[in-house]
Symmetry: C2
């Protein structure tokens, strides 16, 4: 068989049976081989950032990697922003970048560029396939590398001649490396801290934000009187009724500082030590209060559930001590649509098992609070801070979980980076409701303009943060991509539209016109 077919067969044999792609000429043998390996489910994206963000969303929900297929350095470049988010989410992604045939490099043809430089920005593992005889092994190693731990973007550069040449064979991916568990002295130190009678908090992140790990973290916190916090932007937080309530650290450093104020011990459970998103003149980047001891129960390479099991055993804590969020559905508001009333409607109507891809930015501020007591659901955040993630992640989540409703909660400015996602949703019939939060501005930057200490900004500055003149029409944009949509500007109108969208199969867009908070 040729190299391309061996690549595909190695992928599906390892369970990597989903590929989000935007191919070009150098990937035509890969594309041609799709019909020979029907177990591979391929999804076309009209822009690479959709493909890479979808692979991230898929990994967050399926807990295993999808593949991407990208075209040379420029195609990888277009995908880098969402690969950055995937890297920060510790999502496993098998990132396949087609390249010129190896004999072609020395001619420096127009599309020639140094692919590896770009790949290194997002991938600690970068491999270049060189011959069909070994390409199966290259793919197998890439899959294993992607799974870590920690999960990562592993990049395989695949020259066209390796794809088209015969003499290849599939290979079996080696098992992922074992996750670590904390040393006994770490457990002892954390146990002592939690029993010290001083103010303590557990800060969960990564795999600590879901499943039994989260249950155990809640039980430990509840039993010891510690507070349970989550990192600011978890890749996936399981929450809602019946699950442990968790308070997320605020994006605004000022607020996060007050959340952490007075702590004597902060125990990191799959999370990093909290730092401010950006630096501000004269303000510290490190958010840990002076005198607070930071303890590392586990990081991205740790089996966080096992670590919590050991800690709980040492403390004599069982899962039964876990807190459970009550189910409580707010009444539907009416009147003007505001960030608050919109969040209440979302909380009232959020269906059980929903997946929320949250890139609501400033207008999304109230949504986590308003949905805390909704039926159990998953909340996917902007892990790496590179906007344009929300819609692609929704594509990937819906592909991984075709039976669950997905809601993309999307700020207008961010939506515009990867709008092509809507077309892929329509083609694949993905059940994604996009709520575009339209305030006609990069509102977060209006706020940041002041926070960084820049003077308020004159008309030239303000125009760079303004998304009116002309107004954007997201219903028209959705229609252009083959997705039905409607506009709402009242709370009851939003409720009607959201009910309708959730009841209908396939994608829908609701353009919610909401005044800015800032």
């Amino acid at each position: 068989m040729n190299g391309a077919r061996a690549v595909l067969q190695t992928l599906v044999d390892a369970g990597v049976d989903t590929c989000f792609m935007n191919p070009g000429t150098s990937e035509m043998h890969f594309v041609a081989a799709l019909d020979d390996v029907p177990a591979m489910r391929s999804t076309l994206a009209l822009f690479e950032g959709v493909a890479t963000g979808a692979a991230d969303g898929y990994a967050r929900m399926a807990r295993r990697p999808a593949a991407t297929l990208l075209h040379l350095g420029p195609g990888l470049g277009n995908g880098v922003a969402n690969l950055h988010n995937a890297r920060r989410a510790a999502s496993p992604v098998v990132n396949i970048v087609g390249d010129h045939a190896q004999t072609h490099h020395r001619y420096d043809a127009p599309l020639e560029s140094d692919i590896e430089t770009v790949a290194r920005n997002v991938s600690r593992f970068v491999r270049r396939a060189t011959q069909p005889a070994t390409v199966g092994i290259d793919v197998a190693d890439t899959i294993a590398a992607s799974q870590g731990p920690p999960g990562q973007v592993a990049t395989l550069v695949l020259p066209a001649d390796v794809s088209w040449s015969e003499g290849a064979a599939p290979a079996i991916a080696p098992p992922p490396r074992a996750a670590t568990v904390p040393a006994p002295h770490t457990i002892a130190e954390i146990t002592a801290a939690l029993r010290s009678g001083t103010p303590c908090a557990l800060l969960v992140g990564g795999s600590g934000c879901a499943g039994r790990a989260l249950t155990l973290a809640s039980a430990v916190a509840e039993s010891t009187g510690a507070r349970l916090l989550a990192e600011t932007f978890p890749a996936r937080l399981e929450r809602g009724a019946g699950r442990p309530p968790v308070e997320r650290l605020a994006y605004l450093a000022e607020l996060a500082v007050s959340q952490l104020d007075g702590l004597a011990h902060l125990v990191l459970v799959g999370a990093r030590s909290p730092v401010s998103f950006f630096a501000y003149p004269g303000k510290p980047s490190d958010l840990v209060p002076a005198g607070c001891h930071v303890h590392h129960l586990g990081d991205e390479t740790t089996d966080v559930e096992a670590a919590l099991d050991i800690l709980a055993g040492e403390l004599g804590v069982t899962e039964q001590s876990c807190r459970h969020q009550q189910h409580e559905v707010p009444g539907l508001p009416d009147g003007a649509l505001t960030a608050q009333s919109l969040a209440v409607v979302l909380g009232a109507l959020l269906p059980e098992g929903a997946i929320v891809s949250d890139e609501g930015n400033t207008l999304g501020l109230f949504a986590p609070g308003a949905t805390a007591c909704s039926p159990p659901h998953d909340w996917l955040c902007l892990a790496g801070g590179a906007i344009g993630q929300g819609l692609p992640v929704a594509v990937g989540a819906a592909t991984a979980c075709p039976d669950r409703p997905v809601i993309a909660f999307e700020a207008d400015g961010s939506a515009l980076y990867t709008l092509q996602s809507w077309w892929t949703m329509a083609r694949s019939g993905l059940d994604v409701t996009t709520v575009v939060l339209r305030n006609g501005s990069y509102a977060v930057l209006n706020m940041e303009l002041q926070r960084v200490g820049a003077h308020a900004g004159g008309p030239a500055a303000k125009r760079m943060l303004d998304l009116t003149d002309p107004d954007l029409d997201f219903v028209a944009l959705a229609a252009g991509m083959g997705v039905p949509g409607e506009k709402v500007d009242t709370a009851d109108g939003f409720a009607v539209a959201l009910r309708r969208a959730l009841a209908a199969p396939g994608p829908r867009v609701i353009e919610a016109i909401v005044p800015s908070l800032v």
Copy 2:
């Protein structure tokens, strides 16, 4: 003054008075300083690829750099594909990438990444500003580097604290390096070749495709009996009635080989030696016929006009020998809209001084031929082969030349990468008519699927090259971005729409429904 203001002042003092931007928090002081340096004209893009492609288009027309302003590694990533095209076009671009404050790096905040790795893909010159006292010099050096020769993407990484700190001062950009001229023995060798009586051709590229250089190249060719060819995708080709007729090398290697067949001497005039765009199994990448001697009159670092002056002097040739294309306007066709009839309408209606940003791909095949005798105009090609260039380059060209009509001749698949360009056209009132050539497929890939020797492709493969299911509606997409549009599917309908669009100020979109050629 603070660093940001010194950056802006240094730019405008050097004539870099246009900045295409998509800023974030780390660039807020730069944005705030716009009101203090009113000579800087700033243009907001809703996606970084629009900003970088616009800077390329601006440089091609203005013959001087614009600046970009991008946000950290992910923002640069989003801009890389069009920076790749700018690099291949040898366009000078002052690429400013904001970064975290220097004190913030060690905290590895969510948006932290290795910006330089990405920058190296497109920039030989990468500088990191470190303090306000020297940031003016950093900017001045970046401007000088961008101007080459050759023109290039020069990247300055600008930490937020350098922007916000006081103690900065503007600096004066050093003059660009002098361009080279060929050595006497090169002139002698080329003179001998052109006088040898064997089949010769001049292949113009880069700055050889415009102005007096092109006139001289035509005169030399005409006087010596050599053929005059141009590279496949010139960054800017001046053509039309009254200008020298030039035959461009074909994209398809098979056709280019037949164009070059039988040549004994090929003289490169600002062009590279011709190679195939991609490699194909069993076919050579080098398109120069066996036995043909390749001579280098000049490359991207050469003063091509001076080199041609010397050569013409040696040959005793004057500008008067230059050929001039006759003005000849075809009659308007009617009937079905096809790639051919669409090209004829374009040829009939192309206004004098038009700038055509050509990303028509397969459906654009007949446009150069049909416009060869139209009034004089400029033709901007996909220099680096990374699709998604056409609309942003049109933004930049229209910004540089506000009094000239711009036509973006745009394939449907390519348009979808950087559709956000339309919003910037609307905001800036740019007189750009976009003709979207809609055939509902990545037609070039359908062709390449067969050319690379991949079997014809089954349904799974073909679905990855198909842009229907759902159909895209470009008139709706344009409306969503604030640009009026209409759909046409007949030749006379297209003529009416094109006339209307050219007569109206500001941007318009014509969705031309045209059957695929392949």
